[in-house]
Symmetry: D5
Subunit: 94 residues, 10 copies
């Protein structure tokens, strides 16, 4: 089941830079693991912003929420979720 | 080069139903042709809305605009375009 | 799996009143059938508005979209969908 | 009498983590007590957000306000309240 | 129990003027009856707009909704409702 | 002459609690004095928010501004003012 | 007492052009009369829009509302009113 | 003196197609004349929208307004104007 | 050439009060000098807000920007600029 | 390929002034180099704001994002990107 998540990162400017770097490295590692597992199906950068557009393929809403909450940058992200359904004109299955 | 287009369709309720059906059929045919050509890479329905989230793979902004303008439902759609770049954590190339 | 749908009805003032009454009667009948089936778990009126807050219990996003699209008033409703997950403080299971 | 409350929690990142944990634990305890008493009738997590959708069953506006103000996380929450009425198509009484 | 209702009237410009005048006259009559009954406690015009700010004193959310729905101009009004509670600094009881 | 003022209080979480308590106590005292003088005609709490809806009866815009600026919590409030006129359907004079 | 009124005119495209021209001519005549009387103190065009920024000098809110409602284009205008007070740095009296 | 104008065109779907085509042809002719005269310095299409971003070089606000009002599509456009000043890092003069 | 500037002041609550007072005194002095020079033609307080509505009479956009940037409170103000043109119904010249 | 980028700078008031000055000087130097290289084709100041409107001429979305991210003030800017296409009425090529 697919969901689009639009994530905007806002790291406070007074956060310890080392803490921030650690969070970003952990975020990257977990993100790539989830991509390899097929759960984080697409990850695109929004040009000009510290933001991304992502497509998740999860079993249900609970798995989506648990996954997003597990992201190291979660406390500094504003996330908006859109439930995606099969489009009747799409030639591929979701 | 990838772009996200979020399209919302608003067909006036006093449009001739036959005209509307014809437009939708043409839209579907062209949409599927563009998907097969690889230009309309993804097409998802937004659950609960007459709207979609689409990913286009085009040569440049001009090709994107020409393609969107050629859609039969274009006069009845509100489209918002987001330029997508390669995300440094993505394991796939755009 | 639960979703909240907030639906606002906007029937054009020049729609034939008999057509409108027919749509509303069919909407009510289908709504009550879906409630009895357990798919439309809650239905509340927003005080002062021709709008409702609803909770749907469906298998997935596709079932939600198909269900909402099948509503007779669908062409005249603006619907916003929120995916709901289990809250860790809730004493009931979703 | 039912009200929907949509609550978004924004804990300042420089709040002492122990204070924050204490607040969350107290919030959970009070929330579960109010659920058991039937006043906090439903509690759902908004997928992807530190936010919830809640349904309260209270005697009147004053009881609702007193209850919400008593929540330990109240100073860090943005709450929006919607008064709910009986929907004429609902098969259950509010 | 008090509620503020902010009502904005938007009568379509192609509505039959006689129908509109009839609706307004009926609205005025009902409004004054509800004021005399003490249910429509205050009614103020928003300067420069075809809009009002009203305070209703009703038993519960259902009575509020039924009352607002009964207004002749209801189909042409956009209403936003705010639940009001006793303010701890107020010298009068709600 | 009547004005509605909608006031939302946002006290920074790092303000000294004693200072905050002092401000609130002074605000309450002044508010009650202004109510007794008939200038602050109504004061209602917005359910679920640290906010109020108020009706002021003042000589002119200048008196309104001077009065609002004199409130101890003024630096921490966001205030929106609406000029109210006599409604032709109101049975009471403003 | 001064008020700023920001007025945006939206004449429906299917309004009889002769009716529209008559309304505009009457609006202009009344506007100039009110300017000469000193009640409509300033009238500026917003560059690029069918809109104006106006300053009214009236006795009270009621006079302002009555004046605005008397404008021939009133049914086709969206007006937003801002109450203006004496600025402590202004060298002129309002 | 430079201004950015963002123009969105909304032609009503029930406007006579011949009238619309005539308006568009006249708009194009005038637009190209103004470009050749150096007053309409830049004209770009917003990808995916019936909208443009334009830079005008005019003597003053009045010339800008007169120019925009003279456009054949003016009654069907929503225009937002931004006054541009010389940027201290720009290597070119405005 | 006239511009409306709407300025909202937001002084951070942790700014040194003496610094703030100095800034305000300098702002007042400069504001009054500019008013006497005829460049800051009108200055009104928005009732209930730390905000003003101002009309500037300047040679061009550059002079406007330079003037606004020179204000001592500029770093703490949010300013929105509207270009004003001669209104065809105005009896006075801008 | 052209993009409009609207950039608003928000430097926190508690950032070390020397750090801020260094960032601004570096921003200016890089900005001018990019202008000379033809990549930052236009740079205009928004009158009254610490903001600019810019036109970039880049190979693709990735080059745009890399360029914007390389700006020294990037962490303190809010940037919104608009993809521009050739306008059919433009006399110049993009």
């Amino acid at each position: 089941m697919l969901f689009m998540a639009e994530m905007t990162v806002r790291i406070p400017h007074d956060l310890d830079p080392q803490v921030a770097e650690k969070l970003k490295a952990n975020e990257k590692a977990l993100s790539q693991q989830l991509q390899r597992e097929g759960k984080w199906r697409h990850l695109w950068r929004v040009a000009g912003k510290y933001a991304n557009v992502s497509i998740f393929d999860v079993r249900d809403n609970d798995e989506l929420h648990t996954l997003l909450m597990s992201l190291p940058l979660y406390p500094y992200m504003e996330i908006s979720v859109t439930a995606l359904a099969q489009h009747s004109s799409a030639i591929a299955q979701n």
